[in-house]
Symmetry: C2
Subunit: 176 residues, 2 copies
């Protein structure tokens, strides 16, 4: 129990639907702060946080509807910009860990978040996966999908979902 390898906690993070990049969603921040305050506490050497951010290709490419692509380099530019947006999001979490002194790693992937998260769990084998969730009712859930519910069912490691508090829930609970 004393020494041994650090407990590896994977935290799935995404951007805010209200503020956009590079702002983290309310539920991602909540999941992160819960992990720090309730699990890591002052035992910074005992844990390593692994941040995974999955970018949805369709969503990210949406703004490019009005762009004109004239050369292969234009596409390269677009891909780089997406990458930079994702990195800015991760920067927030990595900076916070650095301030506190918790070892961490962070990376982005493209794809369907729920499937990519489960795939990364399989690959990286963390001790715990922490996923924020909006705490939506059944009616709202139908339209927005439920990354957290999918992960609870399918991720091959223990999973904890952290609901937003009532105080943090925006007027439209689908926003995050």
């Amino acid at each position: 129990m004393e020494g041994g390898e650090a407990t590896r906690v994977m935290v799935a993070v995404n951007e805010s639907t209200i503020k956009g990049y590079p702002h983290a969603s309310i539920s991602s921040k909540g999941a992160f702060e819960w992990t720090l305050n309730k699990i890591v506490r002052n035992n910074t050497a005992g844990f390593k946080l692994l941040f995974i951010h999955v970018q949805v290709p369709d969503e990210d490419g949406f703004e490019d509807m009005d762009s004109i692509f004239a050369s292969p380099d234009d596409f390269k530019g677009m891909k780089n910009r997406d990458k930079i947006r994702g990195l800015h999001l991760l920067e927030y979490f990595v900076n916070r860990c650095h301030e506190i002194g918790v070892p961490c790693e962070a990376w982005t992937k493209k794809g369907d978040p729920k499937e990519v998260i489960c795939h990364e769990v399989k690959r990286v084998q963390p001790d715990l996966l922490v996923v924020g969730c909006r705490g939506l009712g059944p009616f709202q859930r139908v339209f927005v999908g439920t990354v957290s519910e999918f992960c609870v069912k399918h991720a091959e490691c223990p999973v904890v979902t952290i609901k937003r508090s009532a105080a943090e829930t925006p007027q439209d609970p689908i926003d995050d």
Copy 2:
């Protein structure tokens, strides 16, 4: 993050279906060991474990089918015996915590485990509920109920379920 109140982790425990009282189930022990090894680690002052054991009245009374009840005291004796069995189960977990130096509390309740656990979460408001589970397939689940699934859905706090490893799973996976 440093000081503040200890993180209160509720661990739901039950008896083994194979070994009976006072032996803890494989999944309870797994959930407990996971909590110690992966969460508490050497930060014993940062956590408090709360053990809840819910006794199912029907199950516990089953052996009394062949008993003869001649006076109110006979019933009292039966109730006391049930109580003592539950306490022996909790003794295992409390003793382990004491050895390691993790503060803990333990208590028993009567009723339907899944409902009583959620009720106790509401009353006690832990920071995390840890529930062991057998990791049954959908066919097996129909017959044995799924305390862990119910708690994930209904408990008013973050919940993590800990599946047994393949090595710990008995020949009949419904046993625990």
